[in-house]
């Protein structure tokens, strides 16, 4: 296991994640169906944001195009299910999910070679382009059915409420993503990615295999994003290209990380929670101005806390530590 994870803090993070997931899994028993659906949105957002963090947060390669993997994953799964008419829903879904993840990994591998040569804003814009190209292809090639739309199979067991089932499915996927992100963060790969984020040229000079590390993170991020995309699409039941190649997927994952704390795993989760609550619950009644208030809140938060909410906590924690040390002298 040391190959993947090392250090006490990794095991603590894993234990906290599992305990948190268990706690969240119990929530539907206490929530209204609406609360469960808000929970779905939170878990989806958190999962996508942590998947993005594996590349964007750890290595500093900010992708503005992760919707490409959400959408491609969703459509690959939908088309594979169409091609398996006689299969049981569970069987067809499993095959479709695995195929969507593998094909997205392959897609990432193919585009990684040219695209990861770019850095900073050039990489970000190139990924936005990839997302747009995928959207156009799925929309315009008849066989892919992006414009007409496609139904996904119903995988909800008979006696389970659909909103609860998809809440648990998304929670399971998000938990898996967080655990994988923890493993990556505390592995040799993770330290290499952090080194790349701090100074890629120096990291390479010191022997960090930057290209394979970046490609690995990119492929992992794409596969995990596709997994969320497949479950999200099944939750909708019917998708068109407009349903899944959404610019919100591209931008919100970055907003969650900025808000919660860039480069951390807890940051995007906290950011997703805050944003989901603000946009879906708190401002849900303010029809005309909710977008304005959301933007304003974000601008204030980014100005007041450039390192995100985790940054505030970290500063507070360090200050307390210093005060204790000084009091002890």
């Amino acid at each position: 296991m040391k190959l993947f994870v090392s250090g006490r803090s990794a095991w603590v993070s894993i234990a906290i994640t599992l305990a948190g997931a268990l706690l969240f899994a119990l929530l539907p028993a206490f929530l209204s169906p609406y609360g469960v659906r808000v929970g779905q949105l939170f878990v989806l957002a958190a999962g996508l944001a942590v998947a993005w963090t594996v590349l964007g947060g750890f290595s500093g390669y900010w992708s503005f195009g992760n919707a490409a993997f959400v959408g491609t994953g969703a459509f690959v799964a939908a088309l594979i299910e169409l091609a398996l008419p006689g299969w049981s829903p569970a069987g067809a879904f499993t095959v479709a999910l695995l195929a969507a993840m593998l094909l997205n990994g392959l897609l990432a591998l193919v585009i990684a070679w040219p695209i990861l040569r770019l850095r900073g804003i050039y990489f970000a814009i190139a990924m936005l382009g990839v997302s747009q190209v995928c959207y156009e292809l799925v929309s315009n090639i008849d066989a892919l059915r992006g414009a007409l739309g496609v139904n996904l199979i119903d995988i909800v067991p008979k006696d389970v409420r659909p909103e609860r089932f998809y809440y648990w499915a998304l929670l399971l996927a998000a938990t898996a993503i967080i655990l994988i992100a923890i493993c990556v963060r505390h592995s040799k790969l993770g330290y290499g990615l952090l080194a790349i984020r701090e100074d890629e040229d120096t990291a390479r000079m010191l022997g960090v295999p930057t290209a394979p590390y970046k490609i690995s993170a990119f492929v992992i991020s794409a596969m995990l994003t596709a997994m969320m995309g497949v479950i999200y699409a099944h939750n909708l039941g019917y998708i068109t290209a407009n349903s899944v190649f959404r610019n919100e997927f591209n931008l919100n994952v970055i907003v969650y990380s900025l808000l919660g704390g860039m480069g951390t795993i807890i940051g995007p989760i906290v950011g997703a929670g805050v944003m989901t609550y603000v946009t879906q619950v708190l401002l849900g009644d303010l029809l005309d101005i909710h977008m304005f208030i959301t933007g304003l809140l974000l601008a204030i938060l980014v100005l007041a806390a450039p390192n995100g909410l985790y940054g505030i906590y970290d500063t507070y924690r360090l200050r307390l530590k210093r005060q204790k040390r000084e009091a002890g002298r």
């Binding site: 315009n140 939750n235 019917y238 879906q280």
Partner: protein, 412 residues
């Protein structure tokens, strides 16, 4: 005022609690019929979403302020339309619809866009509540076996049925019909549905041409028309493509007795661009306020349009009228059921057959609009104005067929 941490926390707490308190107060209100839903007021579908939204609100305002509500089973109720902005996001729309359901809302209005309508329709259907909508025309909504979802439009593949019926009664009967469809989902679905129905009706559909989604040169189509000389050319194309086809036919002096361009001639800008050459062109027209529709509440289509313009700044569109007609349909069904029980109202919606500001409201067993009564009408440019020429019930002017030739139009 000193802004310390405690004050900030208190304010934030109050801000968090307020919406919940507000919702509680709303739920206690009596003698209102709450109709919930979500509409895209922002995002990709906002432009049309705003039209739908205004239609819903115009009807609510009219019923409450002009008619002092509606009377059901001896009681008078105000209509309370509660709409959220779903930001053109199907997941957000689903969450908001669930919120309405949890709040006890019994009747629903639909969003705009099939990709949003279908997921929300699934939730409403499962809950056994009716939904009236005017934004989801994808065929796939009406093949799910839903019993509670009703649409003011026919499904996409049936929207040109009136056009086919018109071709059937043309005198002299056309001997050859050519279809040209742009390679985009809407245009293809529209054309393929019309071709299937036309063949079923025995029309001589001899040629089908597929065009690129964005046409830069229509010469190959013009050449085919020149050699095959169809009596009718029906092109399912968007306005820019329609304009290019018309211009190339004019410059090549290739005439078609009936040139039908699904989108384009209904727009004033299109007619201005072609000048006198637009005379006689046919097109797809969903609604015209001058159509002689009688409405039990508004009086007529024209009176609805006048009322709307008095109270709303946004231009009226056919989605505005169809949105208002959704509320009208609900009121008719509630009155017919003499009850606010959603199951009874649903049953009355299913058998509804009334004339309204939007035309005759009648649904198929699957819930989409009757293709003849709620399908698009046939429009024609006559004396520079977009008129409705078919069916008779919607007619604002008599059709001209064959249309004048380009040379005649050139002479003025």
């Amino acid at each position: 005022m000193k802004l310390d941490r405690r004050t900030v926390l208190k304010s934030m707490g109050a801000a968090v609690a307020l919406p919940a308190i507000g919702r509680g107060a709303q739920a206690q209100a009596t003698e209102t019929i709450v109709i919930g839903g979500s509409v895209p007021l922002s995002g990709r579908a906002a432009e049309t979403g705003l039209n739908v939204n205004n239609g819903y609100l115009a009807a609510q305002k009219f019923f409450n302020e002009q008619l002092n509500g509606v009377e059901i089973d001896g009681k008078r109720y105000k209509i309370d339309v509660r709409l959220f902005d779903d930001a053109s996001d199907p997941a957000r729309a689903s969450t908001l619809i669930q919120r309405h359901l949890d709040d006890g809302v019994q009747f629903f209005l639909g969003s705009f866009g099939s990709n949003i309508v279908l997921p929300t329709a699934a939730i409403v259907e499962r809950a056994g509540k009716p939904m009236m909508q005017t934004g989801g025309a994808s065929d796939q909504i009406y093949t799910q076996g839903y019993k509670n979802i009703f649409c003011m439009f026919p499904r996409a593949s049936r929207q040109l049925y009136n056009t086919i019926e018109y071709f059937k009664v043309l005198q002299p009967a056309p001997k050859s019909i050519m279809f040209a469809m742009a390679n985009d989902a809407f245009s293809k679905t529209l054309a393929e549905g019309a071709i299937a129905f036309g063949k079923e009706k025995g029309l001589p559909i001899n040629d089908i041409v597929t065009l690129p989604e964005n046409i830069t040169d229509a010469s190959s189509l013009v050449n085919q028309i020149r050699s095959k000389k169809p009596d009718v050319l029906l092109a399912t194309t968007h306005d820019q493509n329609s304009l290019l086809i018309a211009r190339q036919l004019i410059s090549s002096n290739v005439d078609v007795p009936l040139l039908y361009l699904s989108l384009g001639p209904q727009l004033k800008s299109f007619r201005d661009a072609l000048g006198g050459y637009s005379e006689g062109l046919y097109f797809q027209q969903f609604w015209d306020e001058r159509s002689p529709y009688k409405d039990a509440f508004f009086g007529s289509a024209q009176k609805f349009a006048d009322y709307y313009r008095q109270h709303f700044k946004r231009d009226i569109a056919y989605h505005t009228a169809s949105g208002a007609a959704c509320i009208v349909a609900y009121v008719h069904a509630m009155k017919a059921a003499n009850s606010l029980d959603p199951a009874k109202v649903r049953d009355k919606l299913a058998t509804l057959d009334v004339e309204s500001l939007y035309g005759r409201i009648k649904f198929t067993p699957e819930g989409d609009g009757d293709p003849v009564h709620l399908g698009s009408t046939v429009g024609q440019v006559l004396k520079g104005t977009a008129e409705v020429v078919f069916p008779e019930a919607s007619r604002t002017a008599a059709p001209v067929f064959p249309a004048p030739k380009w040379a005649e139009k050139r002479r003025g």
